[in-house]
Structure formats: C-alpha cells, structure tokens
C-alpha cells in the first residue's frame, strides 16, 4: 500500500542532508568533546559549529544555546530552572491552558513544590489575549511561559506583545518554540524572550536532541547534576552526533524557510478548501489567520475522530486526533477543550500537519480518502442495544 504522512507536528523524518552530516560523528569523530586531546578537539569543533548553526536560526549568540535531549527537557530546564533559581518562598508562574504537556506537567510539579501557577485561557480562536497575561501577573510572579505556536491548531501566540508585558514587570519569559521552529521566522531578541525551547525531531533531525536558548544574563538553576558541560547548564557528555544533526537541520530549514512555508501554506489551504468543499458540517478549529503554514485542525460533525484516524490509516494516510495516552488510546485534545469546544466536537476533530515530503497529488488523494471515510462513518447507524 502507498502510504502518505500528514502528521509532521508529531515528528518528521530525518532528512538525507542531516543523516549525511550526522553519520561521521557516530564513527570517525567519536571523541569526547570535553577531552583535551585531538579526538576531543575534533568532536568539540563539530559541536561548536552545530551551536553556531542553531544560534543562526533563532538569531542569538552561540553561547546562548544549550543542547539538551529534546523539547521536553528544554521545557523542564526552562521552567524548573528559572523558578528554582529564586530562593524565596512566595513564587508564581503564569502560563496558558493550551501548552504542551511538557510545560503543563512541569507546572504541576512546580505546584507540588509550593509554587502558585495561573493557567490563562485561550480564546475560541486558539490565541491567548496578552491582556489576560497582564491581569494574571502578581508581584510574586517569577516566570511567564507561553508557547510560540500551538501543536494542535498551529495558532501563533502574540509573543512580542506578551514579552513587553513581562519585561515591564521585570519577569523572565519562556517560550516553547517546538512547533514554531522551522515553520516561522524566529528572532529571540526581536520577540524579547529569555528562554526558548527547541526540538530536533520536529525539524528533520532525529529524536533525542533539542536545545534551549538561554538569553545571556538570564539565570537558571540546574536540574541535572554532573560535570561542567554546556557552561554548567546541562551536565552529561555532549551528544555530538545529535547536536550536529540539530545544527545541520537548523541550517537546512533556515535556508528556504520562506519558500517552504509558502509552499506548505498553499498545500494546507488546498487541503482545507478541498475538504470543506466536499464535506458538509465540517469546519476549521481555531483562527485560520496567523497559523503555522503546515497545520490545520478540522472537525467533522457526527463522527469519532479516533475511528477516522484508524480508517484513514488503513487506507494509507497518517493523521492524528488528540494525544495518545500510555496505552496508545486517544484522549480528547486538552487544547480543543481549553478553547471552549464541546467534548463531542473535540472528539470529532482531526489534525493534519504537512511537511517537506507532501505534494499536491498527495493532498488530493488525502481529500478523496477523508471525504469517503467521513461519508461512510456518517452512514453507519448504531446497532440497537438489546435493552436499556
């Protein structure tokens, strides 16, 4: 069966260029980047080049890039590190209800540690109102954490406006940029952020590597303990192959960001228009303006998204609905619930996220498959139970 992948917000395939850059670091350049000898120096060179590449993508200095194991660790380090560094009793964090679990569950941990957390709601458009952030701020607020682009809806949050608010209050701003990196231009200084989380496998690098931008002068406490790596900010022998892959991927996505974004936006719009033209009682969740170019989230009244995902997979199309729990079963998206959608609409929603390998022909095939599957699912009348 021909298979097509429309779930790039979940993960992306490693690009051939990234693979080619990474492989030598697994074999030839095997030194420990902290060793003083030749082998170590070769590894260190690769690591620092990767750091420069990553820094270039988000317009910061290389010394402000900390390599970590992925987006989740970046979020943990940012939140736990920026809050624990304050040695006072009364601490408060402002975040939003539409964050990724890597942020939300880290906030839950902070609450266990006695930190107060305010979860600012997002509007039905999937966008957080900066004034809501302003209203949530307290004198005890030590950190604001808002995602750059939402993983389910693609909606872009007004980070620059929020940073003016946090900055005026003298409070650090963390931005989870995992879903924005490689899809939107990112300039951490123009945005005014202090901490910015990045993940490798969302930008065609492998799983297991990510980065955190830590603005020069921003203070974070360590959350892991060991050697002096990454300027004392993240111990552990440097993952040189991972960092090199990340650096190469950053350079690749940065090199044609505008062109690829325009191409993906056109494909995404083709998909949306095709689906909405063919299927009635369907609609886009969240705002259609100001989204990441590759993402759309569509509800199909009267169907179970879970069944549609399976039906499409059996036809060869990979899409997603909600988040998988530990067993692999799907739970209704907390994001769709948080923007005020009723549970039945959240369950009837599907996320399509496009990427580099998708073509117009694939999109047209997907439109056909979705139209046929939705029609079939809507046709089914429930089996009448034996007794009530």
């Amino acid at each position: 069966m021909q298979r097509y992948y429309f779930d790039h917000n979940a993960t992306t395939p490693v690009s051939p260029a990234v693979l080619a850059a990474m492989v030598p670091c697994l074999g030839e350049v095997y030194g420990n980047a902290s060793s003083i000898h030749h082998f170590g120096q070769m590894a260190k060179q690769q690591l620092e080049q990767a750091r420069r590449q990553a820094a270039t993508l988000v317009h910061c200095g290389p010394q402000e890039i900390v390599f970590v194991s992925g987006g989740t660790e970046a979020d943990n380090l940012a939140l736990l590190g920026a809050v624990r560094v304050f040695n006072k009793r009364d601490k408060h964090v402002v975040t939003t209800a539409i964050e990724h679990p890597a942020v939300l569950n880290t906030c839950t941990q902070l609450e266990r540690e006695g930190v107060a957390v305010t979860y600012v709601p997002a509007g039905p458009d999937g966008v957080v109102e900066p004034d809501e952030i302003r209203r949530a701020m307290r004198t005890s607020t030590v950190l604001v954490s808002v995602m750059h682009a939402n993983n389910e809806l693609g909606t872009v949050q007004p980070i620059a406006e929020i940073s003016r608010i946090s900055r005026a209050a003298g409070v650090a701003l963390h931005v989870d940029g995992v879903q924005a990196l490689g899809k939107l231009p990112v300039d951490v200084y123009a945005l005014g952020v202090d901490l910015y989380s990045m993940s490798g496998h969302k930008i065609y690098a492998p799983k297991g590597v990510g980065a955190l931008f830590v603005r020069k002068g921003a203070l974070i406490a360590s959350i892991l303990f060991g050697g002096h790596h990454e300027r004392e900010r993240r111990p552990g022998t440097e993952n040189v192959p991972g960092a090199v892959a990340f650096g190469c991927a950053a350079e690749c996505v940065g090199s044609d960001l505008d062109a690829e974004s325009a191409r993906l936006a056109a494909l995404r719009d083709r998909l949306e228009q095709g689906i909405l033209a063919r299927i009635d009682s369907a609609g886009v969740n969240g705002a259609r303006a100001n989204r990441t170019p590759n993402t759309t989230n569509i509800y199909f009244a009267g169907i179970e998204g879970e069944a549609l995902v399976i039906a499409l997979d059996l036809r060869g199309f990979a899409v997603s609905s909600g988040a998988a729990c530990s067993s692999g079963a799907v739970e209704p998206s907390h994001v769709l619930l948080a923007i005020g959608l009723p549970p039945e609409r959240a369950r009837a929603s599907i996320r399509f996220s496009l990427g580099r390998t998708n073509t117009a022909e694939q999109v047209d095939a997907l439109i056909d498959a979705v139209a046929e599957s939705v029609k079939h699912l809507r046709k089914i009348s429930p089996v009448v139970p034996a007794h009530a």
Binding site: A307, I310, G328, A329, I380, P385
Partner: protein, 373 residues
C-alpha cells in the same frame, strides 16, 4: 465463518492481550482473512489508586495487556490500534454496576459490557473503519437457521468454558456480525494452537474476576469509586435478622452481601447461615439455613429472545441462574408480551439472586434470557 460476499472486507478482532482473543486473531489471519486488531481501553486503573494491587496481572486494560496484544499483532503482521471507550464503559457498565449493588442486587457487568460496548460500540467502530464483521474470543457458537434466517446462539462445544450465559442480550443484527471462532474448540486446543502458532501469550494465565474490580473486592471498589465521584458511600450499618425478623447481629452495609453468601456474616451459629435476602431500604440482611435459600420460581424482566423470536405459550426449557450453574429443567410462562417471563423450576433452586441473569436453553440452544427480579 462469513459468507463470501463480505469476507473480502477485514474482520475486526477484539484483542484483550489474552490467549483466547490472540488465538482468534492468529486463526483468522492464518486462514487468509484480512484482520485488524483492536484493543478497547475501557477503564484506567489509576482512577482509583487506593485499590492498586501488587500483582497487576489480569487487570482490565493494564499496560501489560495492551503490550501483549500489540506484540501478538506485530507477530501476525496485522494492523493494530487501541481505541478509547473509557467514557462509554463508565456510563454503561460501571455506573449501572454501582447502582445495582446499591439497590441490593448482584449485577453482571460482563453482560452489560457485551450488550453496550463489545457488541454495540465496538461493532460500530469496526464498521466505521471498514470491517463488516467482528470476532471475539468468547466461547460460544452462532449459526444461521436456514429456514427462518434467524441467527441462533449456542453453547460452546466445551461446556466447561461456555460463555453463552453472558451473551443472552445480543440482538439479531449483533449476532449477524459476530464471529466466535473458538466456539468449537476446547481451552486445551486453544492453548495448543497458540503454542503451535508461536504466540507470545500462549502460556499466559487467565483472569476470572470482573476485570475492573481488583481482587474481586466489590465493596472496596464501590466505596472507592463513590469517594472519587464525591458521592458519600453508604456506610449505613444495618441489622442481621432471621427470616422471623429476630435480630441476631449487625453489618457494615448491604452492599457487602449477596444472596447465598455464607462467609463474612460475623456470627457463629449452630448450623451454617446464609444470606437469604438483602433490603437496601431497611438496611436489613436476612439470614437463614441452606433450605431457606431454595426457590421454586423466579421472574425474569427485560427479556431478550435470541434463538427463539418470542414466547407465545408456556414452554419447557432448561434455565441457568448464574454463570456456574448447571441448566435446570423448568417451565417458562410469558407475561407482558414475553418481555417478562415467569420461570417455574421442576426442583427448587438454591440462591436465586436478584440482578443476575436467568438464561433459557434448549440443549445447547440459547433461547433468550432476562434479569432476575
């Protein structure tokens, strides 16, 4: 087996991660059918952490069971998915289970799960993903009566494993779409086949308890569930009385008791005492001798007719009043358009328990069944 007109579509196998449903998937795949494996996530054990047992084996929808089902699907090279039915399961199985216990009856959640989840929502989902039929690891048989076109349900060839008692609520459309490939096999044969097919779960032990109730402790489950819902469990203590109304002790709540129960009465008496009846309104538990448990008749309500279309006149049958009960001779009398049936046993039966099912048989044929009032 399906007729040729629908066999080109995939068959959805309800895979629990146990040896029976795994063997069903393997059997159908080996016969060349297109098979989709689906595991229903019904209950999250972390919901009631205070009930967590140390063993973990055989617990409903545990991660271990999902791991096993996924492993078997991988061995067979079939598509496999976990589907989330937690909301439906809670509404249609757990809540009625709680309600029945609080009403002083002894419910059978497995039948509700069959009626409303496995042969309703699951069939609907299977249909939605393109599977015209479902297959499960139940030990029972379905056949189509050629002269009438009616689907009949029969006891499994292996009477010791027969699960037809739990399937009496199935409707004709449900039976039409359901395959029970193990119905002609013994458990030993199933295990041997699982071994022969090299299935990872071939030696896995069985669970006999109600899947979502750890250690079979219904009262603890009920209390923990009610607490988690912010509903105060009924702690109303009540009296233990004899059938003459004489108080001989006290108890911690009627939901701790079921008709026929001997242990846990907390009283010593000359002859063995059994629970004869429970009444949640007065919080009374009536106890008595074994003889006092005998009943000559019962009324079954909400009767579903399976192999017979209805009952228009009194008829002889064999009736089973709990899962581990040998079908026993009786006469069925229809009441209220045959949706209620009075059952008159030839010989009085011990521990007729409200909330359990009375299932009517003619030999291996499941005629129908209803809920004991």
């Amino acid at each position: 087996m399906p007729d040729s007109s629908i066999s080109s579509k995939p068959i959805a196998v309800a895979m629990s991660g146990g040896v029976d449903s795994s063997t069903v998937a393997a059997l159908l795949a080996s016969r060349g059918y297109s098979v989709v494996g689906l595991t229903m996530q019904l209950w999250n054990q972390r919901r009631l952490p205070e009930l967590a047992n140390d063993g973990g084996a055989g617990r409903c929808c545990s991660l271990d069971d999902v791991y096993d089902a996924r492993h078997v699907a991988e061995q067979l090279g079939i598509p496999y998915y976990v589907v989330n039915f937690e909301t439906q399961f809670e509404q249609q199985v757990v809540e009625p289970f709680i309600h029945e216990y609080l009403a002083g009856r002894t419910p059978i959640p497995c039948t509700l799960c069959n009626n409303f989840i496995k042969f309703d929502r699951f069939i609907e989902l299977a249909d939605g993903v393109g599977a015209a039929q479902i297959a499960t690891g139940h030990y029972a048989r379905v056949r189509r009566e050629p002269s009438t076109g009616r689907y009949q349900l029969l006891r499994a060839a292996d009477h010791t494993k027969d699960q037809s008692y739990f399937l009496f609520g199935l409707t004709q459309p449900q039976l039409e779409r359901s395959l029970f490939p193990l119905g002609e096999m013994t458990k030993l044969e199933v295990r041997a086949l699982a071994r022969e097919l090299g299935l990872a779960v071939a030696e896995k032990s069985e669970s006999y308890e109600i899947c979502f109730v750890p250690n079979g402790d219904y009262a603890a489950f009920l209390e923990a569930y009610l607490r988690s819902k912010g509903r105060e469990p009924v702690y109303a203590r009540g009296d233990l009385v004899t059938s003459d109304g004489v108080k001989i002790g006290e108890h911690a709540g009627v939901h701790h008791f079921t008709v026929g129960q001997r242990r846990g009465l907390g009283i010593a008496a000359g002859e063995p005492l059994y629970v004869i009846a429970t009444d949640p309104n007065t919080q009374r538990v009536t106890v008595g001798s074994n003889d006092q448990l005998l009943r000559a008749a019962l009324t079954a309500a909400d009767v579903n007719w399976v192999s017979w279309p209805t009952l228009s006149a009194p008829a002889r049958a064999q009736v089973k009043i709990r899962h581990r009960h040998e079908p026993t001779a009786a006469v069925l009398y229809p009441v209220e358009y045959s949706t209620r049936v009075e059952v008159h046993f030839d010989e009085p039966q011990r521990a007729v328990t409200p909330g359990q099912a009375a299932v009517f048989y003619d030999g291996d044929l499941v005629l129908g069944g209803g809920w004991i009032e």
